[in-house]
């Protein structure tokens, strides 16, 4: 995480209790701020479970709707981010539990050509490398990929990842280790 990102994160965490208090009191613009801040990452996360964009968006909408409907008693134990991710995960799993039809994963191939909001470090890499890494991430086993994505894309700490997924921090460590090993193998075979 870069310095500015860390500073933003620290500021956001400091402001969280006030934001939550405002939402509990029915402040719709505080709710809007929350929505706009977390909508995209939550959709990406839901998409990892559901493999379909429209469904991912609907699930995230429902999570926010529920928060607003129950706002008077809304409370989070750790951070707003992990609360939201957990809520989305639960909603996605609940949906999947009832689904009998095998879900088709939308081809992640088309995403490879979008280098979205890339950091300077990533932009400096060759496009081929980025594609190779994306493909390697896509090939990780499900649980491993989830842990890796939650940590990297969503910016959760090991402890937060453990909380959201309901696993132990040790498992998180092990999965990240596995991810690195697989990714390295994937990269090694790509480079000449």
């Amino acid at each position: 995480m870069s310095l500015t990102q860390a500073a933003d994160e620290a500021r956001r965490l400091q402001e969280e209790p006030e934001a939550m208090e405002a939402i509990r009191a029915g402040d719709s613009s505080a709710f809007e701020t929350l929505f706009r801040a977390y909508h995209a990452p939550l959709c990406s996360f839901a998409y990892r479970y559901l493999g379909a964009r429209d469904l991912a968006e609907e699930i995230v909408q429902e999570v926010f709707l529920c928060i607003w409907e129950r706002r008077e008693s809304w409370n989070v134990r750790t951070s707003v981010r992990s609360y939201l991710l957990t809520a989305v995960r639960n909603a996605a799993l609940s949906y999947l539990r009832h689904e009998r039809v095998v879900r088709r994963r939308e081809a992640e191939v088309r995403d490879f050509h979008e280098i979205v909001a890339a950091s300077p470090e990533v932009r400096a890499l060759e496009a081929e490398t980025v594609v190779a890494v994306r493909q390697a991430i896509g090939r990780l086993p499900d649980r491993c990929r989830l842990v890796f994505t939650l940590h990297r894309e969503q910016g959760l700490t090991y402890a937060e990842v453990a909380e959201v997924l309901g696993i132990s921090p040790r498992t998180v460590e092990v999965q990240i280790g596995r991810a690195l090993k697989s990714l390295r193998k994937g990269l090694a075979s790509h480079r000449p």
Binding site: F35, A52, V116, E121, V122, T157, Y158, E173, I176, R184
Partner: protein
């Protein structure tokens, strides 16, 4: 080379989750061998790329949809009864004020006339009744038409659709349905599409689905032909999440708010009515008769109530009422009696009692 690498520790190092001492140790390890340095360089690349989201999402459009849905739920809770311009019953519930236009309240009255009321932002209710456009398919017929946004509607027999022509196409495209309709919704992420019936509220982006909610039926049913919709029960508390349905999913909502979902239904059967076919699949005979009467504008009755719980399976294209009635009678071991415009299906054994 891979064998002596402690991947877990490297992970902690890259994640910033290790102690100062550990970090120093790993740093020394990295510098001890150019192969190690190269490895960590590659891993950093993977680490960075992993942090980049791979999909874009239209958050502004999603927010507009969110506001539209929240407004529509508010109006459901803060109902004020109005009849002929006079306000009855309790006042409006306290509601959040959303940026933008004042919320509109759409009301349903048992007697069958409808008013729209605009709520002024200050919270006081001013009645500005506006008549609704009404489109009706009489019993025995279906009706097809298109709304201003390109949404196509097919109304089933004995069904009515109502909406406010001045507001339809605004931030919420809202319709009131009494009966049965199939919708092919014009896709528009900025304008939420919403259908209310006596028992259901269905919200949608742009997709193809059908709702059946006749007052005489025991429940409302929504089935999705393509796309995704969110369905809520009118009876249920709005803090419960809606049911999400996709292609081939069907939900049944009874007046108590109980929700039954079936996935992977036979769409050809569920939507047969849209193609002018009558399909019964293990349908209770009482329901068969109700649907027959709607479909043909007939007056078929069961001479013996016990017949109502028997089951009937058949599929018809363009056939006459007489054919269906005859085959139904045969299936329940009954016979057909005509009394003026009424058709009676009676059990064979009642022959002696007839005078």
């Amino acid at each position: 080379m891979n064998d002596d690498v402690d991947w877990i520790r490297l992970g902690r190092y890259l994640a910033g989750e290790c102690t100062r001492g550990e970090a120093d140790e790993i740093q020394r390890w990295i510098e001890s061998d150019p192969a190690h340095t190269r490895l960590v360089e590659q891993l950093r690349a993977a680490w960075q790329v992993g942090a980049t989201p791979t999909t874009t999402w239209d958050t502004p459009a999603a927010w507009r949809r969110m506001v539209a849905r929240l407004r529509s739920r508010e109006t459901q809770k803060g109902l004020t009864l109005v009849r002929g311009g006079r306000q009855l019953g309790r006042g409006p519930a306290r509601a959040a004020v959303w940026a933008g236009a004042a919320a509109a309240v759409l009301l349903a009255l048992g007697g069958g006339f409808w008013w729209i009321q605009s709520r002024v932002p200050s919270g006081s209710v001013g009645a500005v009744p506006a008549p609704l456009r009404e489109v009706r398919a009489p019993i025995g017929q279906r009706a097809q038409f298109q709304l201003t946004d390109g949404t196509r509607v097919l109304l089933g027999p004995g069904s009515t659709l109502r909406y406010d022509t001045t507001r339809y196409g605004g931030s919420i495209r809202e319709l009131l349905l009494d009966g049965q309709a199939h919708f092919t919704v014009a896709y528009n992420p900025h304008r939420l599409f919403l259908v209310r019936t006596a028992r259901t509220v269905t919200e949608d982006l742009g997709t193809e689905f059908a709702i059946t909610d006749y007052a005489a039926d025991s429940a409302g049913v929504v089935v999705v032909a393509s796309g995704t919709v969110a369905v809520r029960s009118v009876a249920a508390d709005t803090t419960r999440p809606a049911t999400l349905l996709r292609t081939g999913d069907q939900v049944r909502l009874d007046p108590a708010g109980r929700v039954t979902v079936r996935r992977g239904v036979d769409l050809r059967s569920s939507l047969a009515w849209t193609e002018g076919r009558l399909v019964f699949t293990d349908t209770p005979v009482g329901e068969v008769v109700t649907r027959l009467n709607r479909w043909y504008g007939a007056d078929v009755r069961l001479g013996d109530p016990a017949l109502a719980t028997l089951r009937f399976t058949a599929a018809y294209g363009a056939v006459s009422e007489a054919t269906v009635v005859r085959e139904l009678a045969t299936a329940v071991r009954g016979r057909v009696l005509r009394r003026g415009s009424t058709t009676l299906i009676v059990p064979l054994s009642s022959h002696q009692r007839e005078n």
